[in-house]
Assembly symmetry: D3
Homo-oligomer: 135 residues x 6
């Protein structure tokens, strides 16, 4: 195993939990496992491992990008779990979805925040109350 | 409740039916209800309430934009119901999906027209016959 | 020349002006002219020529779809010209861009409305005043 | 039936199997069948029937474009079947998904390769082994 | 002027500099100024003004979303200026673009980082050195 | 220099010409050079270097994906040059753009084919004649 793959697994497991990088590869079959491995090597070995941004910052940026693309439910759920693990608060996660509505439009944001909230509930997080209209 | 939120609810219910704006908020949990409220305040209180386009025009434009983005089934179904309620004919709704195929490509348009047709059938609308090839 | 191409040219010129369909083909060189021809045959011969929506409705739907995709300045300018020619008012055209902001986000809508307004000014249209905040 | 529709059906059935073009139309109801017919006439009668690219080349290009758009599962499954029928190998199909990850990002590519692999398995194809890291 | 618009202008000017919210409206002509005003009222009066995320966090999330959409050069430049003003470091800004490459693909990220770097240079920021390959 | 970066440079230069990988990095300044390096290491060292697809196949797939995303002119020009260098014919390149119109819509395809044709002319390629309507 290359140093880079090892580094990728270490950072992936740091975000998602011990042994989870194995799971990503095992979700794929045959040649597709190469693509999963690239995801670990490149996304985590090369990118997440860089200094300059904390893991908590990276997880919120990932969520912002995923909500903007739209429709990526498995990844929204995964990065919600990751964000909580690396210390983001439910408020920060949900505010991230609310923040990007101005760029991605309401349908993507509303569908995403439902998925994210459900995942937070599943994780046993306390869901913050709505703020209501500002004075 | 601000005048703007009230105006938003009034226009939302005008398009979707009495009391439906409450339903939109209740579909979300906790902080996410703020995003649903923004949807009512901004989309309906600020935008749908503007003069210059009729509600029927607005509903067809919404469908055109949603089909173009792709994959937004709950919104496609919702705006199909809204379009019928504000007086669009099934022909206008289906022709809107057909019209945008030139911009969004066939896969998005074909997936969308299946969803829209199913919703129209569910509403008890008579589905217009295909025109067939032009002479 | 097939009947379908002829029909396409007729509808294209109806929207954009006498002889403009020739211009679309001549903007392309060599094999690319086949793609321009498909645009006339399919978009105008098959789609625009269908009953069920007026040309004015179709032009607003085209604008809604183009703004949603983003970045298509030549087409935004072209369909703004077309929309005016088939009888849409500057208000309807500009309100169409404003309407879709809820789906496509502010950056695309703001960039598009600048292009559309400039084209309307170039056409000598009177630009409607802003409505300002609602009471 | 126009020559063009007939040509479209012939090419569609060449890619997907005898009589499959009828199935595409029958998946839609009423007016929506016009859109399915356009898909056959234009996509297959006009485009797939052109010389200059083989059917195998076209199927891989279709997959590249679909993966890039994201979320189009029925079309991914359909074109995987088509690609195998016109002589693409499972390796070429899977490598096409892997190739476009650099343009469309990991979430779309990983979701797509799972769908494509499942379809290949359903077709009884042997799934190629992962190559593993390069020396 | 409503409280909400005033709040929006205050937060807009906090991010972009004294009096800049006027500039945004003045970049538009006629009816389009309503859309610019909505941008200030909604994006800044409603969203940026919320607690739960700092302005520095919001600016990085905005950049992540804009890079993901692609092609929005004026907004990329504007939010780069905003990010510096609210205290993000050039490293955080550039790492944000690098971070989202895994979701949006290389072409969008490479085009965006060129625009962002140029804006940072124009602002007189010191551009951090490349890290080079990790050990 | 890692083996992977070296391999990336070798494949990049194979597609674009001797020494061109240096140029990609030098087009960027400071930290952004890391992103350019990732482009060489990952896109060319990891992906283009894989067996299973020829370089000519890969270049057409890259073009299909780029046209589908839309708006990426520098990359369209670059991959047109690459495609010619690795042995694709102008016909294959132009047919690739025509092929994906069914997925990405006419505006993106028409804008792209203009850019691609211009680049082919600049390279001194003979531009194939339009086929005209099929019998």
């Amino acid at each position: 195993m290359s140093e880079r793959l090892e580094r990728g697994k270490r950072w992936f497991d740091e975000v998602y939990g011990e042994g989870k990088s194995e799971g990503l590869v095992e979700m794929q079959t045959g040649l597709a496992q190469d693509l999963a491995r690239f995801g670990i090597e490149f996304n985590f070995g090369d990118i997440y491992s860089r200094p300059g941004l904390t893991l908590a910052q990276r997880e919120l940026l990932s969520l912002a990008s995923l909500v903007t693309i739209g429709g990526l439910e498995p990844q929204l759920r995964g990065h919600t779990r990751g964000a909580i693990r690396v210390g983001c608060s439910p408020t920060e996660i949900l505010e991230t979805v609310i923040h990007v509505v101005q760029y991605c439009g309401f349908p993507k944001a509303l569908n995403a925040i439902r998925v994210v909230t459900d995942q937070l509930i599943e994780l046993g997080c306390e869901i913050p109350e709505p703020l209501g209209p500002q004075a």
